[in-house]
Structure formats: structure tokens, C-alpha cells
């Protein structure tokens, strides 16, 4: 009787090991060459009415300062275009943040409609709340393009 029980237990153990599906293996490779700044989140722009493309990435510098960097960036030129963070998961091409009362954080006037550029993010900005970058024409309340950010 006892032998049978042990055999059963052993078979069960063997089966568990063989299936092994519930067993998780955890790896923790370090970034081979960690530099000072940390990449927090990234996303790509979409915008059809005013062709907008490129990547938006948020970095945390060594001193804790947050920086938004646009790369491979391109949009149409326009009057009074700003870079803002909005409290939304994404934005439509025709979104009007003024009308919809979307909360936003102003990062400054768009420095150029083409090329790589950096914008400082005010200290204390809650990136869990403001998780989309928008290139926004203030004069006509037109969203030129939006980049929803995802964890890097």
C-alpha cells in the first residue's frame, strides 16, 4: 500500500516536471552599457490631415530631469504650433482639445517641423496621466499629430 502511494507521488512529480508549463524562469540581463539617461517611454506619431511622422521618446536624465525627444520627426509647417502632453491614451486627427477640455501640459513652441529636437518636461509631471504627445496648432485648435507613449 505504502509503496503504491510513493509510486503514485513519484509519477505525479515526474509528470509535473515533464509538463513544466507552470514553471517560470526569470532572467535579469543588465543593459550591457547603461548610460546616464534612462528611456522611460516611447511611441510613434500618426497624423493624416497634416502628415506627421516620427518618434517621441521620454528620457529621464541622471539628475532626474525629464526630457521629451522627437526623432525622425516630420510634420507640416504651420502658425503657432506647440508640443503638448495630453491626459489621454491617444488622440484622433481631428481632436479639438480645447472643446473636449482635455488636460494638457505645455512643453513649448515646436522648434522645427523637421528633425530631431528636445523639450524639457516640467518637474512633477505625472507621466502615468499625461501619456500622449501632441503636435498642436494653437491658433486653429488643430491636432497635427499624436504619439501615444508606451513603456520602453
Amino acid at each position: 500500500m505504502m509503496v503504491r502511494k510513493i509510486k503514485f507521488a513519484m509519477a505525479l512529480a515526474a509528470l509535473t516536471v515533464a509538463l513544466g508549463l507552470r514553471v517560470s524562469v526569470y532572467a535579469q540581463d543588465n543593459m550591457k552599457h547603461e548610460n546616464g539617461a534612462k528611456t522611460l517611454a516611447t511611441g510613434t506619431f500618426h497624423g493624416k490631415v497634416h502628415q506627421t511622422s516620427g518618434r517621441a521618446t521620454i528620457y529621464k536624465e541622471e539628475d532626474g530631469k525629464l526630457v521629451l525627444r522627437l526623432t525622425n520627426f516630420k510634420t507640416s509647417n504651420g502658425p503657432d504650433v506647440h508640443v503638448i502632453l495630453i491626459a489621454a491614451g491617444d488622440a484622433d486627427d481631428n481632436a479639438n482639445f480645447l472643446k473636449s477640455n482635455t488636460e494638457r501640459v505645455e512643453l513649448g513652441k515646436l522648434k522645427g517641423n523637421e528633425g530631431d529636437q528636445n523639450y524639457e518636461i516640467p518637474a512633477g509631471t505625472d507621466l502615468a496621466k499625461y501619456r500622449t504627445v501632441s503636435v498642436y496648432c494653437e491658433r486653429f485648435d488643430a491636432n497635427f499629430g499624436a504619439a501615444p507613449l508606451e513603456k520602453f
Partner: protein, 169 residues
């Protein structure tokens, strides 16, 4: 000729001009139509740029197919040209004979959970762990404009666990 000049000097014309010019100026200021043709290019360096650090070339989010798979796949390049794949926030289900591959995003096999026949791919190695951050070396010759997707693949059952389409960083 003298007729035209005197007409131009007539009061009415001045009135029209007095009204029209500010309107035109206001319209120009509001719409700045010349910006349709004039581009402003900038090229700021990354604020922390250190040329000795590996730079990300491509990145993409993993999406689960046959098994739930999440996380990010990024390709980095060191200044000496060596490239590697890094998985972060990574989690998939454990399984037998799991491999990390590069495949072509337009490959129809990737649209299905299970691949019939062989998957056209570049082998990066066995999956080291089903959770956590991990690095894989890329063969020097692999063309990333062609092999633009990272696949977590179960060789035994030809199951596509997860796919990440790589986009330029």
C-alpha cells in the same frame, strides 16, 4: 497712362487700399501660407549623447499569438557596429524548445498561431527565460529592413507565441 495714374490716386482707391492691406496682413498672419512651402529644420543632439553607448535602432511591442506574450523588443547597436536584441518587461508562457527568431512581418505564417512547414527566419538562440530582461546577439549579416519582426517561437509545435514588429527608433 496718365489716366491710370490719376485713377490710382483717386480717393476711393486709397480707401480700398486702406481697408484691404490690413485685412490681407491679418489673413497672412493667421494662416502664414508661406509655411506650406518653407520648412524649418532642426537637428538637436540627444542631451545625454555619449557616442560610446549603444544606440537603439529599432523597437516594438510584443503581442501574443498562440500564448499571451508581452513586453518590448529593441535592437541596439554599439559604436563598433555590433548589434543585439534586448527584451524588456518581457513575459511569455514557458514551453518546450522556445526560440527567439527574426522573421519578415509580411510573412503570412506569422498571421497564424501555428506555422505550417518552416518559417523563413534568422535564429537568435534559445529563449533563456520566459520572464525578465535578456539580450541576444545578432548575426553580423542580418538585414533588419527585411527581417523586421521578433518572434518567440516554439520549434516543437511550430507555435508562434508572440510577435513584435520592429519600427525605427
Amino acid at each position: 497712362m496718365t489716366d491710370g495714374a490719376s485713377l490710382w490716386l483717386s480717393r476711393k482707391k486709397w480707401l480700398w487700399a486702406g481697408l484691404g492691406v490690413p485685412v490681407l496682413v491679418a489673413a497672412w498672419w493667421a494662416f502664414r501660407p508661406e509655411k506650406l512651402w518653407i520648412n524649418e529644420k532642426v537637428n538637436e543632439p540627444a542631451p545625454f549623447a555619449s557616442s560610446s553607448d549603444p544606440q537603439p535602432l529599432y523597437t516594438g511591442r510584443l503581442a501574443g499569438k498562440a500564448h499571451a506574450t508581452t513586453g518590448r523588443a529593441s535592437i541596439y547597436q554599439t559604436p563598433d557596429g555590433k548589434r543585439d536584441l534586448r527584451l524588456t518587461d518581457f513575459a511569455t508562457s514557458n514551453g518546450p524548445d522556445l526560440h527567439v527568431l527574426l522573421a519578415q512581418s509580411d510573412d503570412e505564417s506569422l498571421a497564424r498561431d501555428f506555422v505550417k512547414g518552416e518559417l523563413n527566419s534568422v535564429e537568435l538562440g534559445r529563449l533563456r527565460a520566459n520572464q525578465g530582461d535578456q539580450n541576444y546577439d545578432l548575426p553580423g549579416s542580418v538585414d533588419l529592413s527585411k527581417y523586421d519582426s521578433v518572434v518567440i517561437y516554439c520549434e516543437r509545435f511550430h507555435a508562434v507565441f508572440g510577435v513584435a514588429k520592429l519600427e525605427r527608433f
